[in-house]
Symmetry: none
Subunit: 195 residues, 4 copies
């Protein structure tokens, strides 16, 4: 059952991604994807067997392409504070996009499919983000940019706040203001100046 044309596979995943962005996870049917891809009903089944599988593959692709969220922000002479701020700004953009984001689909998918710890991509991303932020804060503390007694705790706290903002964006709705306020709250708690 060799995986057929690898381009087509990728094409389907990219197209499906748009569908998920638009409709979330649950509402998406194989038919939706077939139609978006303009391929035949049977054609899709040649590559994938369910929306769940397709979604997971979309996520995989996604994380392959973007596990460098931070690396983008890192330039030689950027300070820890610079990087943290940049990262938070990125998150803000993402948060406010609301549509054009997989967020909703991801949540919906994980509501239904809570895979074993190990397979939970979401968890991996969360944990790795915590680690990176922790490192960043430690660096900042060493440089005298930040003041912080519990770097790991703070990193975790930041991530939960971001998660809270993310889900709020999708449910109760948030404004740029709200995000800005939370970001400065975080930065102030680190004693970053001029915020």
């Amino acid at each position: 059952m060799g995986e057929k044309s690898i381009q087509k596979r990728r094409y389907i995943l990219e197209t499906a991604r748009r569908v998920f962005v638009e409709k979330g996870f649950k509402r998406v049917t194989m038919k939706d994807i077939v139609e978006a891809c303009e391929i035949s009903r049977g054609g899709l089944y040649l590559y994938f067997e369910s929306t769940g599988q397709i979604f997971l593959e979309v996520l995989k692709l996604e994380s392959e392409e973007t596990d460098d969220v931070f690396s983008d922000s890192i330039t030689e002479d950027a300070t820890a504070a610079d990087i943290l701020i940049l990262f938070l700004q990125e998150q803000k953009k993402e948060l406010l996009r609301k549509k054009d984001t997989l967020t909703q689909a991801i949540y919906e998918y994980y509501f239904e499919n809570q895979p074993v710890r190990k397979d939970n991509i979401l968890r991996k991303q969360f944990d790795s983000a915590v680690k990176i932020i922790e490192k960043l804060i430690e660096t900042g503390v060493e440089n005298g940019e930040f003041y912080c007694e519990d770097c790991k705790g703070t990193a975790r706290n930041i991530m939960f706040v971001l998660e809270g903002l993310k889900i709020s964006a999708q449910t109760i709705g948030i404004t740029a203001d709200t995000v800005d306020r939370e970001i400065s709250y975080i930065l102030r708690s680190l004693d970053v100046e001029g915020v």
Copy 2:
């Protein structure tokens, strides 16, 4: 549209609630509710016209009965810190329940139906919770229990952390430990002693 038997209406909502707790929002069909209620198909339509409407009514009932989350915790001689801690412990319980909670259904519902600001019950609850916490913190500050420069900001921050924990509980899964750590992080940031 004469409102028929008000007991039956209530009976349906209570039964439907259980269904939503069990299956979330999206997966619930009118058929599910009909079967859970053991009433006739047509009968349900006499009272409600869609799962969405039913869900909203369930939420309404819910909030009528439970906008006193705090009042429970408040006894005459409880300190602000006592109350806050009690509140956070309540939230912890709720968070770890995971199943047996409307949380997932609520998120799912609001993913699809983002009503005008004003009708967003979720938002109202969030905002009112922020206000209450803010008050609480202010009281605590006045009493010298807490140290806090931006009460409103802190209150908001607490709520976002809780939201973050809530959604994490439903997706990546969290442990009691994780919640405890966040709670003490919050309390420490308020300079609450002995945490």
Copy 3:
């Protein structure tokens, strides 16, 4: 899930019977039956859930209505030989009908579904036919109409010959002559005169 209108149920079974007679068992789809009955797709599922179930019910009806194959042949003053001959003539008619018979469908069904001994309607019918024939032969022997050393064996043998003719009719094809020859072979072996 009460069984709805009993007439409709029966109507469906009778219509389905015609479909099975025409197409056998395997080739029949739920759609075929829906169309033959001129009811809606969902309507059929209200009553039955698979062609297999429908077929079994058809058989049940069938056997309720026809377990009196013999009783028809029995009149007060008929001799055992008369009855046996009548019975064999009935079988001949059935055999030669070829179409307009459930035979094929029955075989196809039992190829796939070999239920526990006890539930095998086919087996029950076979066994009960053997018993009746045995009785008949015994009576004939007592009356001096037949000569037979092993009544049970002969009865069984007759039934297997009939089965052989039945399946042959459906596969290699047989003529009236063939059946007649087998019938007289049987009767001769019982020493029935004038055959």
Copy 4:
């Protein structure tokens, strides 16, 4: 339509045979055969155009290789009774095998495809078996081994009993005992001693 590789053709038929043995005729799809043969979808169509055609060819091969059912049993000094008994024992083995036999597939095929008399392989086999048994009985009668007034009739009767047993084995199920009883019934009717 140049006949391509004759080995491949044969390979396909042998593999397909196994598939038919396992699943009968109707349930077998071109896909099943393609997969069992581990060849390409298009490849199969180069050699055959339908499961029906493949099945017929399988039967042809089969009969080429096994029209010597009897010859196996015939040794120089075997008596007619010996040979008949051996033949019936062979049939018994076949009957009880149930799975691992083409029987079901053959019946299913002929249910749907009743070719003109002449092409009906099944019929040919039946007729030729009758002839051989007839010869055998005649020989036995001449040798004083058997008593029989209508050799052809008896031969035919034996074959129908065998057919009856065969179809019963596939539908209502039979035991070794049942077969033994029928075999001795047959032999007794031929006055074979010691049965």
